[in-house]
Amino acid sequence: MRSYILLFISIALVNNFILAKFLGLCPFIGVSKRRKQAVGMGLAVIFVMTMASAVSWVVFEFLLAPTEHNLFYMLMGAGRPASDFDFTFLTTIVFILVIATLVQMVEMFLMKVIPPLYESLGIYLPLITTNCAVLGVALLNVKDFGIMNSLSESFAKSVLQGFGGGVGFLIVIFLMSGIREKLEKYDIPPALRGAPLAFICAGLMALAFMGFAGMGQ
């Protein structure tokens, strides 16, 4: 249990997706002007990153990885070693298609079943397909926890990385939107207005977040 809590802290704060790994900068700069929008985007990202981690883990372990439980190996592997069924070179193509389909399905599901949630998250969902944090977390999961002895541990850590990454994203985009709402009241040199100042604030936040190093793993 302790190792999972440490992993969560390390993913959400120490190795924050935006400030330490530079994933998901476009929505971070684009949708951080208003606090309400920032929260909507952050929640949508948590949701999609968690789902994408789970789905891409299943696809990787059972279809792409050269393991004993690869479906193609189990169906056609008579007399051949599992390493013959190595489809990891397809990871990039398969993951982006899985994520694009997943986002589309989530959007349709929310529209039909939970309309109020769709009203608040809906407009952010299509943007998330090209959010590199989502594909990034799927690829990082494969790299960090892809080949492990225990399948359940690998799955739990992958999903935790997706969820923790999303929570880190929400924290940072929410703080940023608060700062930017305040900044609007001040007199700023015209050249720095908009994106440049947002990047300077992000840099200062990254400096502050470096203080978390040493916590977690």
Partner: protein, 204 residues
């Protein structure tokens, strides 16, 4: 014809003006070597996908053209991944997941949608070349500043002695860490804004 190539460098520079592809430009600009590798990889994918899409666009049904584009781009990215893994393993290691993440780089899908699908083969190739090299140039500028200030080297060669005697000026290692990337791009963008404002003021 020449303008198709040149526009990617200044007027429509993807990073500084259009603000596309920010994640890789901040993440891999730790050293000049990484920046050049990333720039060339992205240029290859851009030229390849632009050429392919301008040739075969009429076979893609317009309603599902975006998924088709993504598959084309992902295929070229996989080619880069495999070639780089085989011949440049050290570079591949240091660029890490940012090579597969070229797929979701908005520059490439943006050029497919905005340019390649309605232009002929040659202009599309030139457009891809210009945009890719413009992206590479932006990376090179950010990386030069960060590497020189942050590690006191350029292309891995120590130059700190050239501008300061040994031990006199320690490199500011914050520049090669995450905050430095944000500061450098902020000031480059501010400079571009300032230049544009000055030019506008002169013309009026």
């Amino acid at each position: 014809m020449k303008s198709e190539v040149i526009k990617g460098f200044f007027r429509e520079n993807p990073v500084f003006v259009l603000m596309l592809g920010l994640c890789p430009s901040l993440a891999v600009s730790v050293s000049v070597k990484n920046a050049v590798g990333m720039g060339l990889a992205a240029t290859f994918v851009l030229v390849g996908s632009n050429a392919f899409i301008s040739l075969f666009n009429r076979f893609f049904p317009s309603k599902i053209r975006i998924p088709c584009f993504i598959v084309v781009i992902a295929t070229f990215v996989t080619v880069v991944e495999m070639v780089m893994g085989a011949y440049l393993p050290a570079l591949n290691q240091s660029l890490g997941i940012f090579i597969p993440l070229i797929v979701v780089n908005c520059i490439i899908l943006g050029r497919a949608e905005a340019f390649a699908q309605r232009n002929m083969l040659l202009p599309s190739i030139l457009d891809g070349l210009g945009m890719g090299l413009g992206f590479g140039m932006a990376l090179l500028i950010i990386a030069s500043i960060r590497e020189v200030l942050g590690s006191g080297t350029f292309w891995g060669i120590r130059i700190a002695e050239a501008y300061a005697p040994e031990g006199y000026m320690a490199p500011a290692s914050v520049m090669v860490m995450a905050p430095g990337a944000f500061f450098v791009i902020a000031f480059i963008m501010a400079y571009m804004n300032w230049r544009r404002a000055r030019r506008l003021a002169r013309n009026v």
